[in-house]
């Protein structure tokens, strides 16, 4: 009994055990070291940092009030932006579906096609839309084609990866039943796989279309068409009030895109 009491008085409480504590300290230390190194090493002229709020305010003041005289050019550029996103999304479907078919473990014909499919998906996903645009502008010159191709090449990885996962997650039992009727592989896919992945397909394409609208607004900064061309031009000529109008237009477009997306999503699912 006495022993017990002694034990009780010695008891200390701590939130973490020793090992956890060490890991935590190590993570804190590493973070602090990284911060110190970064702040000392990064190529920032610090007086500018303290001046930044002023500068930003200044820029904001120069943008006010928005200048609407170029509205018809802006509207046209907006339509072009939407066209790029929509056409690219539609065209992507035709490439992304076969790729997802060979990149899904349960439908791919063999190991080689599986790895080919995965290679296509990874390389598509790892390169940003605007970098793809840079490449296609170099090849096909500035314009909407470069934009469409850039958006497509990025979307293939996105749609292909998610569709591949949807194919891998299907209920296997209908597949078994179709095999038992003596159906060949393509018929099994058409009857047991396609109906099951349909909802996922629509959801994924709609989601990507929404993302593509946003991506298409910046393609013009590297010359690949859309509203970005106008934005870059206005910035280069210091037409800040027009810049403000363009920014407002982009916000409106993004909101409309989101509204359409959520309406469609409700319809489909």
């Amino acid at each position: 009994m006495v022993d017990h009491a002694a034990k009780l008085t010695e008891r200390v409480w701590s939130r973490y055990d020793a090992r956890e504590q060490w890991i935590r300290y190590a993570v804190y230390l590493a973070t602090v070291v990284l911060v110190v190194w970064t702040v000392r090493d990064i190529d920032i002229f610090w007086p500018w940092v303290w001046d930044a709020p002023n500068q930003i305010q200044n820029l904001g003041a120069r943008m006010w009030p928005p200048e609407f005289s170029a509205w018809s050019a802006i509207l046209n550029a907006m339509l072009e932006t939407v066209h790029i996103a929509t056409l690219a999304t539609l065209l992507t479907v035709f490439i992304a579906l076969p790729v997802s078919y060979i990149a899904a473990q349960n439908t791919t014909p063999n190991r080689i096609t599986l790895w080919l499919g995965r290679l296509i998906l990874v390389s598509s996903r790892s390169v940003n839309t605007i970098i793809w645009a840079l490449l296609f502008v170099a090849i096909f010159g500035p314009g909407v084609l470069a934009g469409i191709l850039a958006v497509m090449f990025r979307s293939i990885g996105f749609i292909g990866k998610l569709m591949g996962e949807a194919i891998e997650e299907i209920d296997r039992r209908p597949v078994e039943a179709m095999l038992a009727t003596g159906a060949g592989k393509m018929k099994v896919v058409m009857y047991a796989v396609v109906p099951q992945v349909m909802p996922a397909f629509f959801a994924i394409v709609i989601l990507r279309w929404d993302i593509n609208i946003r991506e298409s607004t910046v393609l013009g900064l590297v010359g690949a068409g859309g509203i970005g061309v106008l934005l870059q031009g206005s910035i280069d000529t210091f037409a800040w009030q027009t810049v403000a109008t363009i920014l407002l237009a982009i916000i409106v477009l993004v909101i409309i895109g989101e509204a359409i997306t959520s309406a469609l999503r409700k319809k489909v699912i």
Partner: protein, 268 residues
């Protein structure tokens, strides 16, 4: 009980996907019209496009083999990208906590809630490249514009998801803290944060990964990092160097995706 003879000639057709024929053919017509309209109004410069294939051959011919000769330039570029991504993640994640608390409907009063939501919506509505170009215009070329851009980008993403997470917490724990007499801050620290902590760490790792990706891109408009190096290489037709940068970017992204995924799995 049954008629065992087969009655022939009963028709069956697959039910159309859209039952109303007007709507069905209307949508089809609408789609075709749209496609025609879109293709006919888009300004394609066919002569320049026809020139594309030989150009592509020249570019890819020039890109092989990729040149890693200017390793110094590569190193500074990637180092700067990483620094931008790291600082922006740190700032963004720290700033996103108060903003998320403001934007969580269950713990913030209405006016504060609206303010928090507004901040999140504003920081989410623009693509980081557009934000970057504005910051470059305001504070000049260089990594400062990149850090500011990606901080805003991080706030938009992390604060939004964190606010949603806070709105979904188990309310009983908050009531328990209130019932022992804890004030607002203490309730936050004991009743709310422990519930959302794992999620927040996971989000931070995810954000570091996506900031690293984005930092390669904001450089294209002059906000520092490897993107600027890539843009210059393209501009000077140094395709072998550009290709080397591209390969390294892919490698770094895959690596960071792997690390971030591993850490998130460990924590969850």
């Amino acid at each position: 009980m049954t008629d065992t003879r087969i009655t022939p000639g009963r028709v069956w057709k697959k039910q159309p996907f859209i039952a109303n024929p007007w709507l069905r053919y209307g949508l089809l017509l609408l789609t075709l019209t749209y496609l025609y309209w879109a293709f006919s109004t888009l300004p394609f410069n066919w002569e320049r496009i026809a020139d594309g294939l030989p150009r592509a051959a020249r570019i890819f011919g020039g890109a092989f083999p990729p040149s890693f000769e200017r390793a110094g330039l590569l190193w500074t570029g990637f180092k700067e990208s990483f620094q931008i991504a790291f600082l922006a993640t740190l700032l963004g994640v720290m700033l996103s906590v108060p903003i998320a608390v403001m934007a969580a409907g269950n713990i913030a009063p209405k006016p504060i809630y609206l303010l928090g939501r507004a901040i999140i919506i504003i920081s989410r509505s623009f693509h980081p490249v557009i934000v970057a170009i504005l910051f470059v215009a305001a504070v000049g070329f260089g990594p400062l514009a990149g850090v500011l851009t990606l901080t805003l980008y991080s706030i938009g993403f992390v604060a939004k998801l964190l606010a949603e997470e806070i709105e979904e917490i188990d309310w009983g724990q908050v009531e328990a803290m209130r019932s022992v007499g804890a004030g607002y801050m203490k309730t936050l620290i004991y009743g709310v944060f422990p519930q959302v902590m794992p999620r927040q760490i996971g989000l931070s790792m995810y954000q570091l990964d996506s900031n690293l990706r984005a930092s390669a891109v904001v450089g294209i408009v002059g906000a520092g990092g490897i993107g600027g190096t890539l843009m210059n290489a393209f501009g000077r037709y140094d395709y072998d160097f550009a290709f080397a940068i591209l390969l390294l970017i892919i490698g770094v992204i895959l690596l960071s995706e792997g690390i971030s995924g591993w850490v998130r799995k460990k924590i969850w």
